[in-house]
Amino acid sequence: MAQDDSRDNGSGFEAPRKLMEGLRSLYAGSPPVPAELDELVLAKARRRIARRRPLVVTLRWSLAGAAAAAALLALLVFAPTRRSAPAPAAQRAVAAAEDVNGDGRVDILDALALARSIESGRRTRSDWDINADGRVDRLDVDVIAMAAVSINRRSTQ
């Protein structure tokens, strides 16, 4: 015996057959969509995706540019420090010439020693010609004194 869908035996509710058939036909399949509307939606989606692609590419290039700039900045910050640092041997040679009294440091006492030596007329060493002008005179004393007070290096070298 076929079961009648229009009857609910549990609750006793009965719906008219016509209403039941109408509801069944309404939810039976997907509503018909015209092909033009489908095409329109697809075209719009394609356009939007096409617009997004350059943004992604731009973002990638921006990130690459920022990384390159950071690398360049790091080079600029660290490279001059390495370049400007004088070789220890050269530094020692200059310090040795300025260290007139030979106490292992360059300070005002070296300038005083050279000044006294020049004033007394004693023979001066050729390596005391600090400014390399062919003479050992007061200018060399000034160069040593200025080296002693230089704030870019320690006075007691």
Partner: protein, 148 residues
């Protein structure tokens, strides 16, 4: 619309008042002179070298003068790069016979001070020497001079 205008005007007035108050509280730039003394006791002082620093405040060295004794009256040696900084090394020598003994002012350093903090000056004597170039025991001290 009128309410918005009133709110904007009130906000502008408050901002202007805050800016004016901030400007009034900001201290003016001032100048201080710092005297540096070296005491070599009974030994005649022929050469000195010291390092002067200023901490705790925004300062800039703006000038250096010589001392009070004729032997150190002339401007001493210093690195011009120290100007506009808070640290300087100063030195001088004299090969003459008229040299100071005891406590003598060897230099005066002028500072530009900005901000509320009072600078703390410190001096370190690197070396003091006799006319023969021999190191002699000595002490250095700073005294704050006038402000303007």
């Amino acid at each position: 619309m009128r309410t918005w205008h009133a709110v904007v005007v009130i906000l502008l007035c408050l901002a202007a008042q805050a800016a004016a108050q901030d400007a009034a509280e900001r201290p003016a730039v001032r100048f201080e002179a710092v005297d540096v003394y070296v005491d070599s006791g009974a030994q005649p002082l022929a050469a000195y070298q010291f390092e002067l620093t200023a901490k705790k405040a925004k300062v800039a060295i703006v000038g250096v003068e010589g001392g009070e004794h004729p032997a150190f009256k002339e401007a001493p040696y210093y690195d011009p790069a120290a100007l506009s900084r808070d640290r300087i090394i100063i030195a001088a020598f004299n090969t003459g016979r008229d040299l100071p003994t005891g406590r003598t002012r060897v230099a005066r350093v002028h500072f530009q001070v900005s901000g509320l903090e009072e600078p703390a000056y410190a001096v370190t004597l690197n070396v003091a020497a006799s006319s023969e170039g021999a190191r002699i025991p000595a002490t250095a001290a700073v005294e704050q001079g006038g402000k303007r």
